[in-house]
């Protein structure tokens, strides 16, 4: 066995503060380099022991420990909820969402029903079909060139719900709305009428304008 191969053995003997076996002892007695290494390794082990004893003399600071435990208690002041509480909470939220969704759908449906099925055209009721509903304002309506804004009609409020209804309107009805009517018009005219939430017409669009 070479010196290099013996070094790990020497180190381990020194670490364990054990006596080397006979063969190693014989080598250490004859090899000055290994003998010297053996002595420094033993000294190193002794020094480590001193360092270990010194470091172990320290007692943990009770104040630090207490402050750490206080911090921990503060952080976990509210005990964690058991799993069943979480499940119950989730179920309650889902139930609430379902009820809320149902109520919202009903409200939309109520809104969708025309408050006044007939256009209040100065007492003249006409046959009409709701084309669509939208929330708009007067400026948006005036931007549509097909619609003729009715004079004297009260302005729409911003965001007011309007309905566009299709109706066959008598020329007299149109005239009553303030639309210039050609005396030659004899029959009813198909028209789209913008109606406010109050049921009053705000604008008219003649769909079949062949008579103009």
């Amino acid at each position: 066995m070479t010196c290099k191969e013996r070094i790990p053995e020497i180190v381990e003997y020194a670490r364990r503060r054990a006596e080397p076996d006979t063969e190693t002892r014989a080598h250490l007695a004859t090899c000055s380099a290994c003998g010297e290494r053996w002595e420094t390794e033993r000294q190193l082990t002794s020094q480590f022991r001193i360092m270990r004893i010194r470091a172990a003399a320290r007692r943990p600071l009770e104040a630090r420990r207490e402050s750490l435990m206080r911090d921990f208690a503060r952080k976990h002041k509210h005990a964690p909820m058991p799993a069943w509480v979480w499940a119950l909470s989730a179920a309650a939220v889902l139930l609430f969402a379902a009820v809320l969704g149902h109520a919202t759908r009903n409200r939309v449906r109520v809104n969708a029903v025309p408050a006044s099925p007939a256009i209040r055209t100065h007492g003249v009721r006409t046959q009409q079909t709701i084309l669509y509903e939208a929330s708009t304002d007067a400026s948006a309506l005036s931007g549509d060139e097909d619609f003729i804004a009715l004079p004297y009609a009260p302005p729409l409020a911003a965001g007011e719900l309007i309905r566009v209804v299709h109706a066959d309107l008598d020329p007299d009805v149109l005239a009553s709305m303030g639309i210039d009517v050609d005396p030659s018009w004899a029959s009813e005219l198909p028209a789209d009428v913008v109606v406010g939430e109050d049921g009053l017409p705000r604008a008219v669009r003649i769909v079949d304008n062949t008579q103009f």
């Binding site: 070094i7 000294q43 082990t45």
Partner: protein, 182 residues
């Protein structure tokens, strides 16, 4: 049968203060000593050992059981904290001054011990860690291999290399003055 560190950690995360206290009692002293030997300052060591547990109970604790033991994680946190302290500047306090009521102090060579401490602090982390864990903490090669995440053979070879470096330092310290002056 004592509960494992990991089990205590899981309980601690659920708010079990007794588990946290048990973990603290079990690991804090060794973390303090590790920090003391690595930094050379008892003040730094106290701070580091405390801060490791502050971080552990904080929301940012990133311990992942699948990646290693909790003990390994705690040493890793301590090592990083000491690096931060070192980056801030040299630690002035001498280790021997930090130990009060040192019974053996008069009986030993303070100079040699202090020099060995300095040599240990100046070693690369990979060598110093195995010296501290194997020889100062007297942990088995298996334990240290688990803590540092390397094979036992690597631990043993690093330890032998580290001891060779420290032995050379000791040999130099022990050399007669006339030899050193040459």
């Amino acid at each position: 049968m004592p509960r494992s560190d990991e089990e205590l950690y899981r309980l601690m995360r659920k708010g079990d203060q007794d588990a946290f206290a048990e973990l603290y009692e079990r690991r804090e002293p060794a973390l303090y000593r590790y920090a003391l030997h690595t930094s050379g300052s008892s003040i730094v060591a106290e701070e580091v050992a405390h801060e490791v547990f502050v971080q552990l109970m904080g929301a940012g604790a990133r311990f992942d059981e699948s990646r290693g033991s909790l003990e390994s994680y705690l040493y890793g946190v301590a090592r990083n904290l000491i690096r931060v302290v070192r980056r801030q500047g040299p630690v002035e306090e001498a280790i021997d001054r930090a130990i009060e009521h040192d019974i053996l102090g008069d009986l030993i060579s303070n100079e040699t011990t202090a020099a060995l401490h300095r040599a240990l602090r100046e070693m690369p982390d990979r060598y110093r860690d195995v010296v501290i864990l194997c020889d100062l903490e007297e942990r088995s090669y298996e334990d240290v291999a688990r803590i540092i995440g390397h094979p036992i053979g690597t631990v043993r070879s690093r330890l032998h290399r580290a001891r060779a470096l420290l032995s050379a330092k000791l040999k130099w310290l022990n050399a007669p003055a006339e030899v050193l002056s040459k």
